[in-house]
């Protein structure tokens, strides 16, 4: 349980096991094959049968991308508060609690500094399991602060998105995070900083339409759903059938929106290469 009273640092409770009945076996939602959980994890949560990408927790993503034991998390004390006293099918505070329990983190993004093949980077990774990876005040704030850290430390900035968009439950405060993160990233880029944006399934709405699409380089994981408006809303509004593969990474690549689609297992290698080009370019001959 977590206490949301005026800015206290909340206490973290261990998340519950997700599959109470049979935690060792996981069914692939795409090909319906049954995978042994450990093996699936070793395969970076990509189905070995059909290549379906399971969502990855932020911690796992950091483990995969960064050199071992180099990650120093920052702004760990920032936790969300129910600024609008919002409640829908459940109170917002309950959604926050559930997010914390599910992810073992205080918010939908983990930020910090770490190394990729010995190159220091500022990195932020979103976790969809935390209120749909939505961006509220704390997510926005952590990105703003991270961009600032990257700027001051002259390190490249990497953000891994996985989000349904702005967090409705914080209303207009969420919307303004689009402006704030874009401002901070602009400031960082203007001073020569390299920002690599990695889009994973899904990256939509207010996250897609702000920092996620401001990358100097934009990379996506295969098959990720990426877009501004929801497919259902588009269908309702336009009364048209959506084209095949609409809003997938592959569709966006064809339409010029992405630099690359890269498999999860090759992401670290690609980042390593790009970071090395960047640091070699910056060093005087």
């Amino acid at each position: 349980m977590i206490s949301f009273s005026k800015g206290n640092t909340p206490k973290i409770v261990k998340p519950q096991e997700k599959n109470i009945e049979n935690p060792d076996w996981i069914k692939c939602p795409s090909c319906r094959s049954i995978q042994y959980a450990k093996q699936l994890e070793e395969n970076l949560s990509v189905c070995p049968k059909c290549n379906f990408y399971f969502k990855l927790s932020a911690s796992k993503r950091i483990e995969i991308l960064l050199d071992e034991n180099t990650f120093e998390e920052t702004d760990t004390d920032l936790s969300s508060f129910d600024i609008l006293k919002f409640s829908d099918t459940k109170p917002y505070t309950q959604r926050l609690e559930e997010g914390i329990q599910k992810t073992n983190h205080l918010e939908a993004i983990i930020t910090g500094l770490g190394n990729i093949e010995n190159t220091r980077v500022a990195i932020g990774v979103m976790d969809f399991d935390f209120v749909g990876g939505s961006m509220g005040i704390v997510v926005g704030e952590k990105i703003v602060r991270l961009a600032d850290k990257a700027r001051l430390n002259h390190t490249p900035l990497i953000l891994v998105s996985s989000s349904g968009g702005a967090r409705m439950q914080e209303g207009i405060f969420s919307l303004m995070q689009m402006a704030r993160t874009s401002a901070a990233i602009g400031k960082f880029q203007e001073q020569g900083g390299l920002y690599i944006s990695i889009l994973t399934n899904p990256t939509t709405g207010g996250v897609s339409a702000s920092f996620a699409f401001l990358g100097d380089i934009i990379i996506a994981e295969p098959s990720s759903v990426i877009g501004f408006a929801g497919a259902r809303i588009i269908e309702q509004t336009t009364k048209q059938k959506l084209p095949a593969g609409f809003q997938t990474a592959e569709f966006l690549l064809d339409h010029g929106q992405l630099d690359k689609i890269v498999e999860r297992k090759n992401m670290r290698k690609l980042l390593t290469r790009l970071l090395q080009f960047y640091s070699k370019g910056k060093t005087k001959a």
Binding site: L84, V144, R180, G206, F213, T237, F246
Partner: protein, 326 residues
């Protein structure tokens, strides 16, 4: 008035009565001026009463009122000698965004805004003011043209949101809005943002960064429309009016949150009842903004704009707000 909102029923009845009495007075050639006087007084008080107790949902309806002044009304009033510009130079001219330069009190200004139509035909042509990526790209192109003319920019926000269409996604709606969010912090001339009607989500913000952000009294500004919010959470729109309240979307809300710099009072009964007064209020406010901006050099202006947005809705600011309110 052609369109009465549901909560304006007493008003419509009174206005009907007044009209009848006026006709009677003419046709029967009798003096009913004292009765009329009384009714008009009553009408005015009725309006005052209704508009002093508006719910958020009622405000939404006013913000969307078909007879509310539209971008083109402001442009015609503010810069009658205007010249408008088209095109993103790449793909399309998006009518949902309209942009014109003209002389405002002796100096040029550029007005760019969402182009809601004044009737159904115009609305269809302008896609109800819901822009495609090309609209946002046209907007930023013309902000840069304003830099060349060394003229301030007034951004007028009035959209339900960016258009949720197939081509919009294909042509990078996300990229277009994101790009503007970043680049508007670099536009070197003063930018005044006025939310005149609906400030709908990313589609509003996409032309919503500036040195000063104002809202008309009955304008709204929201991360999501109350209907969509209800739809997402309950799969129907029946709770829209509740969410209008919960989302805190009125000018008063935003002012209290420190997210806008001012509220422009609307004439009695809303801007749709008296365009002239509304236009004049906006005009004065622009003049006031320009005077404020005159002494600033470019660097100071851009630094302040950046600071403003980095501070607004920040963790610290919001937490303080939260703590002082609970």
């Amino acid at each position: 008035m052609k369109n009465y909102l549901p909560f304006e029923k007493p008003v419509s009845e009174l206005e009907k009565k007044i009209e009848e009495l006026e006709q009677e007075s003419v046709s029967k050639q009798i003096d009913l001026s004292s009765s009329l006087e009384g009714l008009k007084q009553e009408l005015s008080e009725e309006i005052k009463l209704i508009y002093s107790h508006l719910t958020s949902w009622e405000t939404v309806l006013i913000a969307r009122h078909p007879e509310r002044p539209k971008l083109i009304d402001y442009i015609r009033y503010l810069i009658p000698d205007y010249v408008y510009f088209c095109g993103d130079r790449h793909y399309m001219d998006d009518n949902a965004i309209f942009s014109a330069i003209g002389t405002f009190q002796g100096k040029p200004i550029m007005v760019i805004g969402h182009n809601k139509g004044k009737d159904t035909k115009e609305n269809i042509l302008n896609n109800f003011g819901m822009a495609n990526p090309e609209g946002y790209r046209k907007a930023i192109r013309l902000m840069r043209l304003a830099e060349k003319f060394n003229c301030p920019v007034v951004l007028m926000v009035d959209t339900q949101g960016a258009y949720p269409g197939i081509a919009a996604e294909e042509h990078g709606q996300s990229e277009a809005i994101a790009y503007n969010l970043r680049e508007m912090f670099r536009i070197q001339v003063p930018i005044l943002v006025i939310v005149t009607g609906e400030g709908g989500s990313g589609g509003a913000l996409g032309i919503g960064i500036g040195d000063k952000i104002l809202m008309l009294e009955y304008a709204i500004y929201s991360v999501i429309s109350p209907e969509s919010c209800s739809n997402i959470l309950y799969r129907d729109t029946s709770r829209a009016s509740q969410f209008a309240e919960k989302l805190h979307i009125t000018s008063k809300d935003l002012m209290q949150f420190g997210l806008i710099d001012g509220i422009l009072p609307e004439p009695l009964g809303g801007a749709h009842r008296d365009h002239k007064t509304m236009l004049e209020t906006v005009k004065k406010e622009i003049q006031y903004f320009l005077d404020e901006q005159t002494p600033l050099n470019k660097k100071t202006r851009l630094d302040r704009r950046m600071e403003k947005f980095l501070k607004m809705a920040s963790y610290e600011t919001s937490l303080n707000l939260y703590q002082s309110s609970s």
